[in-house]
């Protein structure tokens, strides 16, 4: 525990020190990044110890203005510390490595970066409502400043604006939540919440407040509107950290509150499952319509949030039906997916950073053929794309597979509701997964494959070896998470048990670990073997059976003699079929002229799909509030007579109301 606190302190101090010595750019970068990396490594030890030994670290008491507050590192905290401790050093390394080209290290970047990391670490060990809220808000504010770090760009400011307001709305709900919990238990300590008595209505109210508050951070459907913009307009390492670590804090909060509340009601589970399903589907179809590389990846974060929410909901429902096996499987799947997603998403965002710096744009329409110029990035991005689409053998497949199994197992229950749940989980996951394949095949294909659509003269450089380090670390982690997944089940199941307490009852048959271990070993071995086979086969094919092959011909374009880059299928046209299918939901803008006449001269097509909920829900809503308030502003008209009149009227009203009428 001490070590963990020292790590937090170290990260904070490094963050404060770095801007102070910003005159010496390199030293400042080393201090900023170094403290984050060393701090994270330092914190990793106690975290792993808690995770694998299962023992909680002793409670530490703080004296705060609102009373005593305790800090505690239990297995749940430790588990959610992993994404932070992975992404914080990796993104720090990345920022530090590219700081020569970019303006990192200047203007308090490291301060907010390290503060964000420290706040997340503090949040995880908070065992008190106030400490939790404090850490939560510091985290949000630090994230806000990181998003607006390039504040000369208007879109970045606008994204930060949306983020902070959304986050503040969420925090308001959380404040209400903790006030509610405190009202029921008479204390702000988590340990007191857990033993307090809640009426059913109170419990549900608390749960829905938590879902709202944390839903903002994870990107639950209508509350996600800040997410794509913020991730897009922030710098790549910041996006990676936000998506990979910060949004996971939302799940942590949600699960933590579930731990504190009585056994979940079925309605909670249904809301989570349906909410997750809609989130996932909406995110993917919108992602397909995006023309900005980072927007696509951002929406994919939302999609994965949907999957995780579905899994949590499935677990909650199983708990309310007293099905310990399914509850355990779904929860293990959700937790594992949290970890897997954060690693993959880190890789994707860093990759997008490398691409957009190499090319100077994030527009998919201007990319293509980068695989030849940036082979390393291409490999990283390919692996990350395959992984995030949930293709075997990569880690995300393992966790999605577990969630699928939870769905399949649910289908064996003889209960219409269970079957409905199974149908939602299976069909939903399959649809989301299918769309994810579509999205990432499109993204990778358009960015790295084909002929380049950008200016030919532009020089594009592969990232430098130092910058490759974070990529290699993350790729190794993808590998580790894949290969080691059968052995990760046990500690993760311990975490899941801690979250579920005995709400689901005790498993009569096998434990989820035993149940899952064999299939997962099979899956991993089998698909790894397949991978090896494919690569071996390809090598053999290249070595021994490629005699006479030639690769200097043009692409076959059905006889057209001079195909060039402009003839390629574009990102807009690729997604057109799907966008058309769902145009009722995503409502794309279509630009361009139709082909007409016998000898058509010029035609173009481009679609654009800003977020529907932003356009059709929040902007009108804010406008409505704004217009609604406008008439009231006439009250401050500047005429003193009437001001005195207000005073007189107030006095009279009060006198009449309270004294005369009484």
């Amino acid at each position: 525990m001490q070590q963990y606190l020292i790590a937090i302190a170290l990260i904070t101090v490094g963050g404060i020190l770095a801007p102070v010595i910003r005159k010496h750019r390199d030293v400042s970068n080393i201090v900023g990044a170094g403290s984050a990396i060393i701090g994270a490594l330092l914190a990793l030890l106690p975290v792993l110890k808690v995770l694998f030994s299962g023992a909680d670290f002793p409670v530490l008491l703080l004296s705060l203005p609102l009373g005593e507050a305790s800090l505690k590192l239990d297995a749940v905290s430790a588990f959610f510390a992993l994404p932070v401790l992975v992404l914080l050093p990796v993104t720090a390394l990345f920022s530090g490595a590219v700081s020569r080209q970019e303006k990192y290290g200047a203007d308090g970047y490291w301060f907010f970066f390290n503060t964000l990391g420290a706040a997340m670490l503090l949040l995880l060990i908070a065992a008190n409502g106030v400490v939790f809220l404090v850490a939560w808000e510091i985290m949000s504010v630090a994230a806000f400043f990181l998003i607006t770090h390039r504040d000369e760009i208007a879109t970045a400011r606008s994204a930060g604006w949306k983020f902070l307001i959304a986050s503040h709305i969420g925090t308001a709900a959380l404040m209400l939540l903790f006030a509610l919990l405190a009202a029921s238990s008479g204390s702000l300590e988590f340990s007191q919440f857990a033993v307090a008595h809640f009426t059913t209505g109170m419990g549900s109210l608390a749960f829905f407040l938590a879902l709202f508050g944390f839903g903002v951070k994870v990107g639950l459907l209508p509350l996600h509107v800040w997410m794509p913009d913020s991730y897009t307009y922030a710098d790549a390492p910041v996006s990676a950290l936000l998506s990979g670590a910060m949004s996971k804090m939302g799940f942590y909060g949600l699960l933590r509150v579930l731990m504190l509340l009585p056994a979940p009601a079925a309605s909670w589970g249904w809301v989570l499952v349906i909410g997750g399903l809609l989130t996932g589907i909406f995110a993917m179809i919108t992602a397909l319509a995006q023309s900005d590389l980072k927007k696509v990846i951002s929406y994919s974060s939302m999609e994965n949030a949907g999957i995780i929410l579905m899994a949590i909901g499935c677990s909650a429902l199983a708990m309310s039906w007293k099905q310990p096996l399914i509850a355990g499987i779904a929860m293990v799947g959700a937790l594992l997916h949290v970890l897997n997603h954060s690693v993959c998403k880190g890789l994707l965002f860093l990759g997008s950073g490398a691409v957009s710096w190499g090319l100077g744009t994030r527009k998919l329409e201007l990319m293509g053929g980068l695989a030849k110029k940036m082979p390393f990035t291409a490999v990283c991005f390919a692996i990350a794309s395959a992984a995030i689409s949930g293709l075997p053998p990569f880690n995300n497949f393992v966790s999605e597979f577990i969630i699928f199994i939870a769905g399949l197992q649910t289908a064996t229950i003889e209960d219409p509701a269970a079957l409905l749940l199974a149908a939602i989980v299976l069909a939903g996951l399959a649809l989301i997964g299918g769309l994810a394949v579509a999205t990432f095949a499109r993204t990778f294909g358009l960015v790295f494959l084909g002929a380049s659509r950008h200016d030919k003269k532009q020089e594009i450089n592969e990232i430098t070896p130092l910058v490759r380090a974070p990529f290699i670390i993350l790729m190794l982690l993808v590998g580790v998470l894949t290969v080691a997944s059968p052995w990760l089940l046990k500690p993760i199941h311990a975490v899941a048990l801690l979250i579920m307490k005995d709400h689901a009852g005790i498993s009569a048959t096998a434990s989820p670990v035993e149940f899952l271990q064999q299939p997962i070993i099979m899956v991993v071995q089998f698909s790894l073997a397949l991978l090896v086979l494919v690569i071996a086969g390809w090598q053999i094919r290249q070595r021994f059976f490629s005699e006479g092959d030639r690769s200097d011909r043009m692409t076959w374009d059905c006889g057209y003699a001079e195909p060039d880059a402009r003839i390629q299928y574009t990102s807009s046209s690729f997604s057109q079929t799907i966008v058309d299918l769902f145009s009722a939901i995503i409502r794309p803008y279509k630009h361009g002229e139709k082909v007409s006449g016998l000898f058509p001269q010029h035609a173009s097509f481009r679609t654009d799909a800003p977020d529907s909920f932003l356009r059709y829900l929040f902007i009108p809503l804010f406008g409505l509030v704004d217009r609604g308030l406008r008439p009231f502003r006439a009250l401050q008209h500047g005429r003193l007579h009437l001001y005195i009149c207000y005073v007189a009227i107030t006095l009279l009203v009060l006198l009449i109301w309270k004294v005369v009428v009484l």
Binding site: L64, D107, V130, E137, R157, A172, V647
Partner: protein, 492 residues
């Protein structure tokens, strides 16, 4: 007891002296010296080393102790700042006006009135007698009106006139309240002080007490800036010189609030009146929050925005006291946090004004680049004033919410959060526009607003606000809790 009198009389005397000092430098130094002497004596008085103060006229209970410290501290900070401010605004030393009109040197008036103002505020805090307190509060109006008119232009004159008339009317109504309060006592009460009346709580006539409370609330509420009597506030705060705005907002409003708290204390001793008074305070608190939310959103003038934010925070104070229980202690804590943050912001707005010579939000861009220190502090102040953790305002706002939820006042809790959110959106938009982004097209020399004394006070105040958010020293905690006990509340 003599210390207390000294505390009130000293600024008066030095104020009169400074009217006759010709040296600009000496006058300014005197102001700072007096401010710090006042601070020093206040600390001695509050720490109890000058003996207990519990007279018929003057007294210092825990409430007074808290407000005295805030006032004195804020004044000292503003005094330091104002020495530089007077330098930076030479063009405001308008032409001499002869005859009955104000004396030639507006800076002399400024220094003198600042000190009178301090004396009046001290009087209103220290006075236990309701009549004496009224005198003190009215005196604050009188002393601060010339300060608001410091800039000698149409706008400041208009603001000063409105302030004068509206506050005087309000305070005249409060005097009615004082008379009515006197009526509540059937037999002759020994002391016309809160403590004296509380002793006879059982004999007080509730009807009259309620009438008196209404008059106090409307009267002092006008001065405190509770909606819908707040209309003078944005004008006066935005037109007065920044150090004055800081004191007006951070200290004066508290003094007026203290006026309401004194009678609230009497009401709290009578159960029926207590619930009535609480209800009133909650209603006015929510109204103030609503009004501030409406006007902060899209507010084009940043000093007015800060002024409306004062209305908001006064609403929170009223709400907190109205909710009772530990929310009263939270409201006290909030008063401290608000004063520190708001004073800092007003002082910083002076820096910005000195450089940009505009109060329009849209004219100011990229503060972080043109004025790095001011810009950073400006954003920090924004976080502090909107109740973002770990600033102390967060603790108090959350504690108030907690009590609202605990007492099952769902409507209050939800409206409270909603209005806070509205304010947050409005302020965020303006602060972002001002601080972030590219510099504007206009060439500005940021160094004019960045000298050490211009950023010293805000920096110190904001640091204190930050520290208090994480650690509340025992003497402050005791004072706050003591004040809450006086008003029938619970410890934080």
């Amino acid at each position: 007891m003599t210390t207390a009198y000294a505390l009130i009389i000293m600024p008066v005397i030095t104020g009169i002296i400074s009217l006759f000092i010709s040296s600009e430098r000496a006058r300014r130094n005197l102001l700072v010296i007096v401010a710090f002497a006042h601070l020093f004596i206040s600390i001695r008085l509050c720490s109890g080393s000058a003996g207990e103060l519990n007279g018929v006229w003057l007294g210092l209970d825990q409430l007074g102790r808290m407000f005295l410290m805030i006032t004195s501290l804020l004044f000292a900070g503003s005094a330091i700042y104002s020495t530089v401010y007077l330098d930076k605004h030479p063009h405001f030393n308008g032409p001499a006006i002869a005859g009955l009109r104000m004396p030639a040197n507006s800076n002399a008036i400024f220094a003198a009135c600042m000190q009178f103002f301090l004396a009046a505020m001290t009087l209103s805090i220290l006075s236990m007698h309701f009549g004496l307190q009224w005198i003190g509060i009215e005196a604050t109006t009188l002393a601060s009106t010339p300060l608001i008119y410091y800039h000698r232009n149409k706008r400041s004159l208009e603001a000063a006139w409105k302030y004068m008339i509206l506050c005087s009317v309000g305070i005249a109504l409060a005097l009615m309240g004082v008379f009515f309060l006197a009526m509540t006592t059937s037999s002759h009460v020994q002391q016309f002080t809160p403590a004296g009346l509380v002793l006879f709580a059982g004999y007080l006539k509730i009807e009259w007490l309620k009438v008196a409370f209404i008059f106090f609330l409307v009267g002092y509420g006008t001065k405190m800036g509770l909606a819908p009597m707040h209309n003078w506030l944005p004008d006066a705060h935005s037109e007065s010189p920044s150090p004055v705005s800081a004191v007006l907002s951070g200290a004066l409003l508290n003094c007026a609030f203290l006026g309401i708290l004194r009678i609230y204390k009497v009401c709290a001793a009578v159960p029926e009146a207590a619930s009535f008074a609480s209800e009133m305070l909650i209603i006015f608190g929510l109204m103030s929050l609503a009004v501030s939310g409406i006007f902060i959103l899209r507010q084009p003038d940043y000093k007015r925005m800060l002024a409306y934010s004062s209305v908001e925070h006064m609403g929170i104070l009223a709400l907190g006291v109205g909710l009772g229980g530990s929310a009263i202690a939270a409201a006290m804590l909030h008063a401290i946090g608000h004063s520190l943050a708001k004073a800092s912001l007003f002082l910083l707005s002076g820096n910005i004004l000195a450089v940009y010579a505009s109060k329009k939000v849209e004219d100011i861009k990229g503060l972080l680049k043109t004025m790095p220190i001011t810009g950073a502090l400006w954003l920090t102040g924004f976080l502090a004033i909107t109740g973002t953790p770990p600033f102390t305002t967060f603790n108090s706002e959350f504690a108030i919410l907690r009590v609202a939820v605990q007492s099952r006042s769902w409507t209050v809790a939800v409206l409270y959060l909603l209005f806070l959110l509205l304010v947050f959106v409005g302020m965020l938009t303006s602060f972002m526009h001002m601080s972030l982004g590219k510099e504007g097209e206009k060439e500005v020399d940021g160094s004019a607003g960045e000298s050490i004394w211009q950023v010293f006070t805000p920096a110190v105040f904001l640091c204190v606000a930050l520290l208090l958010g994480v650690y509340l020293p025992d003497f402050i905690r005791d004072t706050i809790n003591g004040a809450a006990f006086l008003l029938g509340g619970k410890a934080l």
